[in-house]
């Protein structure tokens, strides 16, 4: 260990290095050209919003999977060459890969539990708490009971 360098600084630097490595690994870089900054911003927003079909919980922007690279290329092509709107790009990918690619799934009977589950559970929780609070406080002990309690507590 180098003289004069506090251990905590070394540990911190090590953490920073490890973290930097993760950040790097999590952001594959494609060098795409865009006609305008607006197109590039839309591209970035879309790949952040679309889910990689091969990965269970990574968006296209954050995945190194080859299929994610293919889909980023596809999104780039749809925006720059085909001039699609954001909604059209989402429709295009949904038509081929299903709801899975959308992190924001559409409301339909199969996704009701997904959408209404959390408010439902919150409602159940509120009801439980409400009932507990409404319960009348326990009646105070009678003189007889107080005496028995004292006898038990004093036993040892």
């Amino acid at each position: 260990m180098a003289d004069g360098v506090p251990l905590s600084a070394v540990v911190l630097a090590a953490f920073a290095l490890v973290f930097a490595a993760f950040v790097h690994a999590a952001s594959p870089v494609d060098l795409y050209e865009f006609d305008s900054a607006e197109q590039e911003a839309r591209y970035r927003a879309l790949i952040a919003e679309l889910r990689c079909p091969k990965c269970l919980n990574t968006n296209l922007a954050g995945s190194d999977a080859p299929i994610a690279a293919d889909l980023r290329r596809t999104v780039h092509r749809l925006i720059t060459e085909d001039g699609m709107s954001d909604a059209e790009v989402l429709d295009y990918l949904q038509a081929r890969y299903g709801d899975f690619v959308l992190y924001d799934p559409p409301l339909r009977p199969a996704t009701w539990l997904l959408w209404f589950g959390p408010p439902l559970f919150l409602l159940i929780g509120v009801l439980v708490v409400w009932r507990m609070l409404r319960r009348p406080p326990a009646a105070p002990l009678s003189d007889d009971e107080t005496a028995r309690l004292r006898a038990i507590l004093d036993r040892d």
């Binding site: 091969k54 269970l56 299929i67 293919d70 596809t74 038509a95 081929r96 890969y97 299903g98 899975f100």
Partner: protein
């Protein structure tokens, strides 16, 4: 508090465990429901592996039931299903069309020369763009098309004797009879 209500936490716990068990075991989270079932096979234009000058399109897949098999030499499961594809092609006469997905044409030809070629034609998809049209997210994937080019069945993963017996074979039978 009544005695029965003491069991409420246990019941809630059992319910959560039960939902978790069903949620994590019944469905393979890696298996996406196909968005293309019942839809027409997408339009495409791609060169053939053995005749790169010639491009084929969707029209070349029409007229009879066709099994479109997306494969690559880098895909071990493709090797695993290969014998079954050869068997199906020889035994039933079903037309099988290969899509060589994100692969090197040279390696693909060597592979087919070494292991046998079950395909009536092999379409090249070097950059995976036909794969994107098909919603492919890994190889192998297979699509059964009726004579009009509608996708009637999709399999993600290998075609094995069990899949042929239980799922694919009966469908092919229906298509050929009907």
């Amino acid at each position: 508090m009544s005695r029965a209500s003491l069991f409420v936490p246990l019941a809630v716990f059992a319910l959560v465990v039960g939902i978790g068990y069903i949620g994590f075991s019944l469905e393979d989270p890696h298996r996406l429901p196909s968005a293309l079932l019942g839809k027409p096979f997408p339009e495409f234009e791609a060169p053939l592996l053995y005749d790169p000058e010639r491009t084929v399109t969707r029209r070349d897949l029409l007229g009879e039931p066709v099994l479109v098999n997306v494969w690559a030499t880098w895909c071990p499961t493709c090797k695993a299903e290969h014998d079954e594809l050869l068997r199906i092609g020889a035994a039933t006469g079903l037309t099988i069309v290969g899509v060589n997905y994100k692969d090197d044409p040279q390696k693909a030809k060597q592979w087919l020369a070494a292991y046998g070629n079950p395909y009536r034609m092999v379409i090249q998809d070097p950059d995976g763009s036909l794969g994107v049209e098909l919603g492919v997210y890994g190889a192998p994937e297979s699509f059964l098309l009726d004579a009009d080019g509608t996708i009637v069945y999709k399999r993600v993963g290998d075609i094995n004797p069990r899949i042929w017996r239980d799922e694919l074979g009966p469908l092919v039978g229906q298509l050929k009879d009907g």
